[in-house]
């Protein structure tokens, strides 16, 4: 008896798992919950974005001299146009603003020179850290080489924000490294001084530190010796973010295996040599995301100087909001400031991701 071989009918082809239709089905309509979420999201988008675009772009007024020009019902960007100089430079005299621009261009050129292979990087760093600040300070405050003197109380706007951010960032990193090394030191007194400093600063809000800088420091200085409020606030911001930086860097130092420390010792390196040549390059690389997050936090925190009476970008916008000719343009001002802060902070975080990828040598545990 023979058994006749009867193939069963072939199954229908499986549903597409590639292509646009499959992608839409998988992402939007894979389950009842998913369908609901899709519809809900479209509703939110419909609720938020069309009115926003209508307000900010379609019905907006882009130029004009006063609020009366804004009749389209949308955003009144003319307000930003009129106040643009103040938002950028504060009350810095209009005919002197080229000095701020020049200093900025110099900084950009100097930093860009890192890309040139033939240049001695150490020399360039020394120029940026030692020579450039002096030049920039002379440019900003004047009073020398025939430059008109400009009081620091007139510094403001995005210029002041950038100044606070850049100085805070540049000064807080080395200070944070020192504090982190101190906290991991074997010397009990060094360790306790660092621990007390770091933990005290981290326990209080920045606002109290700024109040201390603006109200309390003068009480601690001898009669007659009093230094600029901007400098006091800068010191406050730097010390504050140095404490946070120290904790980030300590995390990196702890992540370096003990063998690296021992190997450096075995090579006969001194403490500073082993730190600078062996440990810190590895530790800092590990914690780049944390460091940049601290930078971003610091940059956002510079807005707090408004509370102690300095007019950074946000402060200038608050001041402009009180202009009787421009009542009802608060949203435009905040939108503009938000866009500027967002672009800078988002840019920093993206840049850090790129640097992280570039420096990644496969030591990460993934």
């Amino acid at each position: 008896m023979t058994i006749e071989f009867k193939p069963s009918p072939s199954l229908p082809p499986p549903q597409n798992s590639v292509g646009a239709v499959a992608w839409i089905r998988k992402n939007f309509f894979s389950s009842p919950l998913n369908i609901f979420l899709t519809i809900f999201s479209f509703y939110i988008i419909y609720l938020l974005f069309p009115p926003m675009i209508e307000w900010a772009l379609i019905n907006a007024t882009w130029s004009g001299e006063s609020k009366a020009a804004c009749t389209a019902g949308g955003a009144c960007w003319a307000f930003i146009g009129v106040y643009f100089k103040q938002f950028m430079y504060g009350l810095y005299p209009a005919e002197e603003t080229w000095r701020v621009n020049l200093a900025l261009i110099m900084l950009i050129v100097l930093v860009a020179m890192y890309a040139i292979k033939a240049i001695n990087k150490g020399l360039l760093t020394a120029v940026i850290l030692l020579v450039y600040p002096v030049v920039a300070f002379i440019l900003f405050s004047g009073g020398m080489f025939g430059l008109e003197p400009v009081e620091t109380t007139n510094w403001g706007g995005l210029f002041l924000t950038t100044l606070l951010g850049v100085v805070g960032i540049v000064a807080s990193l080395p200070l944070g490294v020192l504090l982190a090394l101190g906290r991991r030191s074997d010397m009990p007194i060094v360790k306790s001084v660092c621990v007390v400093f770091i933990e005290t600063i981290r326990a209080v809000p920045l606002i109290t530190v700024l109040f201390m800088a603006s109200v309390m420091i003068p009480l601690f200085l001898p009669d007659g010796l009093n230094f600029n409020k901007l400098l006091r606030v800068l010191i406050g911001i730097t010390l504050f973010s140095a404490a946070y930086m120290a904790e980030v860097i300590r995390g990196g130092l702890q992540a370096i295996p003990k063998g690296q420390y021992e190997a450096a010792d075995a090579m006969g390196l001194t403490y500073w040599q082993s730190m600078i040549l062996v440990i810190l390059p590895q530790a800092l690389k590990l914690v780049i995301p944390g460091i940049v997050n601290t930078f971003i936090g610091l940059f956002k925190d510079t807005t707090l100087v408004y509370i102690v009476g300095m007019f950074d970008l946000l402060g200038r916008i608050q001041a402009a909001n009180h202009d009787a000719n421009w009542l009802g343009t608060t949203t435009e001002g905040y939108a503009f400031a938000g866009l500027v802060y967002w672009a800078i902070c988002f840019g920093m975080s993206r840049y850090s991701m790129a640097v992280e990828r570039k420096l990644d040598t496969g030591h990460k545990r993934n």
Partner: protein
């Protein structure tokens, strides 16, 4: 061979000696600087005629405080004003922490959603709010959104709720006699449900059969409390907000200062918490989920019993620091006149009395203790949740 050890290192070349010397120098410098500053302080206080000490806390404050949960009038002392402000800070921090956690968990899960659109929307939310300064967001809510609400006479009405420039008005519950019975019923129901959960866990350990204790205890609490209210004869009356020509009277009001600080704090911190939640869930190896599935666990149980406990261990430490940040950031409320610690103590009190050292010191002390207590609590919770290694 001589047995003499070679000691040609000078005193300074010895690492131990150098460490001692260095520390001695540091100690001397710290003490000297401290003494110098203290000396200057005393001299300055003397020349400016400021008396030190906390006796000013007993003097009448003479300024009103917009939000006070305990009785407070202008005739009360600075000490009382300080307590009122402290309560306001704790209030906004606690409510903010609750809302920020909810927003953070929802947004963190949404960013991990399989739905492309939901994930994108959550990403936009997180990346926008994280990169804009909190103070700017607070100003936006206070000066741009809440200040643009209509005047009291054109209040927006949702049922018994009113919304206008002066705040959100809601019905104010006024408790009558007999509320004790209702509250008692609530606590009895609570105790009963806890007992039920303990019994259910014991039974599960013994027999392996799970009794749906969580759902039943929810039912016990809800129905028990309603029953208590019914027995007491519903001892609550609601005072509805009344709209008059120029103002709204009666009802409970949430002032815009409070709303702005709360919204800004919880949405901003929520964006950070969302990233922490996402990182925590992603940190749990996919194999864990596969293993749970192959054991035949339902998806909901996989999440609750396998993924969540492991994710929590990664989430809790950074979550703690976000909570601490929120408590510290509540001090920004001072900029829009929410009467919290910085506004009342370092603002008004400092201006009126000139006691800079005492007021700023007091604030730092309070924030220090607040931070410490949050981190103690979270460390305890972390220890409870952490992996028991054997």
């Amino acid at each position: 061979m001589s047995e003499k050890t070679i000691t040609n290192t000078s005193f300074l070349n010895d690492a131990g000696n150098r460490a001692l010397l260095f520390q001695a120098v540091l100690l001397v410098v710290v003490v000297a600087v401290g003494y110098y500053l203290f000396h200057n302080l005393q001299a300055n206080l003397q020349t400016q005629g400021i008396s030190t000490g906390f006796s000013f806390l007993n003097e009448p404050a003479g300024f009103p405080i917009l939000i006070h949960l305990i009785d407070y009038t202008e005739a009360n002392s600075y000490g009382r004003a300080f307590v009122v402000a402290l309560i306001n800070t704790i209030l906004i921090s606690l409510i903010g922490i609750i809302f920020a956690t909810i927003i953070g968990v929802v947004m963190g899960l949404a960013r991990l959603s399989q739905n492309w659109l939901v994930a994108r929307l959550a990403t936009v939310y997180i990346e926008t709010l994280r990169n804009i300064p909190l103070l700017l967001q607070m100003f936006f809510w206070y000066f741009a959104v809440l200040a643009a609400l209509p005047h009291p006479r054109d209040s927006i009405i949702f049922g018994d709720f009113l919304l206008n420039k002066r705040g959100v008005y809601s019905p104010n519950p006024i408790f009558q006699d007999g509320i004790g019975i209702a509250i008692g019923a609530f606590f009895i129901a609570l105790a009963a449900s806890i007992a039920l959960i303990i019994w259910a866990k014991k039974r599960q350990k013994r027999t392996g059969v799970w009794f749906p204790a969580y759902w039943s205890s929810l039912a016990i609490i809800v129905f028990g409390t309603i029953l208590g209210f019914a027995i007491a004869g519903f001892p609550v009356e609601f005072e509805l907000p009344q709209k008059s020509r120029f103002n709204v009277s009666g009802g409970m009001v949430l002032v815009p200062e409070f709303v702005a600080v709360l919204v800004a704090l919880s949405t901003y911190t929520g964006a950070f918490i969302a990233e922490i939640v996402r990182a925590g869930i992603l940190s749990v190896n996919w194999g864990q989920t596969e293993a749970a599935r192959s054991l035949g666990l339902k998806d909901s149980l996989t999440q609750r019993l396998i993924v969540l406990p492991q994710a929590l261990r990664v989430i809790i430490p950074p979550l703690t620091s976000q909570f601490l940040n929120l408590a510290k950031n509540s001090s920004l409320g001072a900029a829009i006149a929410y009467p919290e610690l910085v506004a009342v103590v370092m603002g008004t009190t400092l201006n009126q009395t000139g006691q800079a050292i005492e007021t700023i010191g007091l604030c730092m002390l309070v924030y220090g203790s607040l931070s410490l207590s949050i981190s103690f609590f979270m460390n305890w919770y972390n220890k409870k949740m952490s992996l028991v290694e054997r």
